[in-house]
Symmetry: C2
Subunit: 275 residues, 2 copies
């Protein structure tokens, strides 16, 4: 257990799950806009904020082959992983830069498009981050954000440990300053950042698992998180769960994924701001 | 109030809301499959079960101009409305037939495609209805179903009356034999109907309102439902809410829709069965 809690972010089970993300399955709402934007300017400059292991950034780079992508994250070590992924895919029009979303190291109007995925939901001041993303984007450019709404997560078949896990994850997110209702709140965060309503296109998308591979990958990651991952320590310290409850959660995840009718889905709020 | 509770289904506020539904916004997962199916057989015969006022049926008929659609519903009066909509749109390849989903008046294998939208969520025996839909579909044909998951509904900004409304609506649905978790349960219902997992494609979609027109239409419908519609009588009789609580719900709906950051979204389970 100690061993897995010492894993770097890049090889932790959650990171493996994050690497299932692509522009196609996580930023389709933006890809449609990029197709139009490319018509007038094929050399788009795109900033991906909080890029993590960069699988979305890399597929965005593929979508604008004549443009260029800067993938940034607050954690330098995860960008090393992102760079390795870009290299293994042979993607040349991408670079990596450590950056704090509240204080992006770029001049005003540096990018045509600024994007983030599941970043604001973890922040104490999401509208401040949005203001900063808007600052580095050109007038006439786009800011695109997609944030999950953890409260809409539905897991079937139900089990007591899975419900406890869901509640603990929502509490965990709030404890660390984030919001488990980010999807539905996103529009209010954007308006609070000073954007006019008529500049905003709001849609809702979904993320889901129902293939056996996806379900097993996710369930094993969650089981590992509560048996030995960083969530275990925080949960016990903050009394979000007892050791017995954590074991019940892990056992229910272990049993869930192989069920033929098992599925897991969550709704996502999506916003494109036309500057 | 009495007056509005006597309105026919066809002109009730919920029916007006239902008429916002089209194949594009409510059956996109099926339209993709129809495009492929049309290649080998342009003359597809499609049954739409529980078609209501038929706006999805009519747009499905447009999608298969050389095929034909039979739109059925258990209520004859709503089909009169559906027929009027089809005529006003100039759609010729559609007919209407009253039918009970548990006992469809069609021979085995009568249709290439059988579809329903938000029907099983209201039924006590959804797998029986699915078996019947499968029976009337040809070997090699498709059965397509989309069911909302009311528990995933998210309304922002929050208000006590809106939360009470949500809980009452979920209880109301269960009291009448339906399921407020239909979206996540859909896969299990299909498997229980005797379908193999490898015949099933499962996806999740969304339904949402965020334009001012959509929000006002929906909020006014909900407000009217609790002030004078059929939900009021059932809610009071079953002690799901007091008169004061119903008034609080109506007032919160009245105030909600005009807020700039207001949005409402819900996740939908979607299944295509390849027979």
């Amino acid at each position: 257990m100690e061993q897995s809690s010492k894993k770097s972010d890049a090889t932790a089970p959650q990171a493996i799950h994050h690497e299932l993300r692509t522009a196609e399955n996580s930023a389709a709402y933006l890809l449609r806009k990029l197709e139009t934007a490319k018509q007038s300017n094929p050399k788009l400059a795109l900033l991906d904020v909080g890029a993590g292991s960069g699988t979305i950034s890399v597929t965005l780079a593929k979508a604008i082959p004549e443009g260029r992508v800067v993938a940034s994250d607050v954690k330098q070590d995860i960008l090393v992983r992102a760079q390795a992924i870009a290299e293994s895919e042979g993607i040349k029009n991408i670079e990596f830069q450590q950056a704090d979303v509240y204080k992006l190291p770029f001049a005003d109007g540096s990018f045509d498009v600024t994007h983030c995925h599941q970043v604001l939901c973890h922040l104490k001041a999401p509208s401040d981050a949005l203001r900063e993303m808007i600052r580095v984007t050109k007038p006439g450019g786009l800011v695109a954000v997609r944030e999950g709404d953890l409260e809409t997560e539905c897991i079937w078949p139900e089990a007591p440990g899975l419900l406890k896990f869901h509640n603990m994850a929502a509490n965990f997110m709030q404890l660390s300053g984030g919001s488990p209702k980010a999807g539905r709140q996103l529009l209010s965060w954007v308006l609070n950042a000073g954007v006019r309503r008529d500049q905003i296109t709001m849609t809702f998308g979904t993320w889901y698992y129902n293939s056996e591979d996806e379900k097993r990958t996710w369930a094993q990651a969650m089981s590992e998180l509560v048996r030995g991952g960083r969530m275990r320590g925080v949960a016990l310290d903050a009394k979000l769960a007892t050791e017995d409850e954590l074991e019940e959660m892990a056992r229910d995840w272990d049993e869930w994924w192989a069920k033929e009718d098992a599925s897991l889905a969550m709704m996502q709020g999506e916003v494109v701001i036309q500057l």
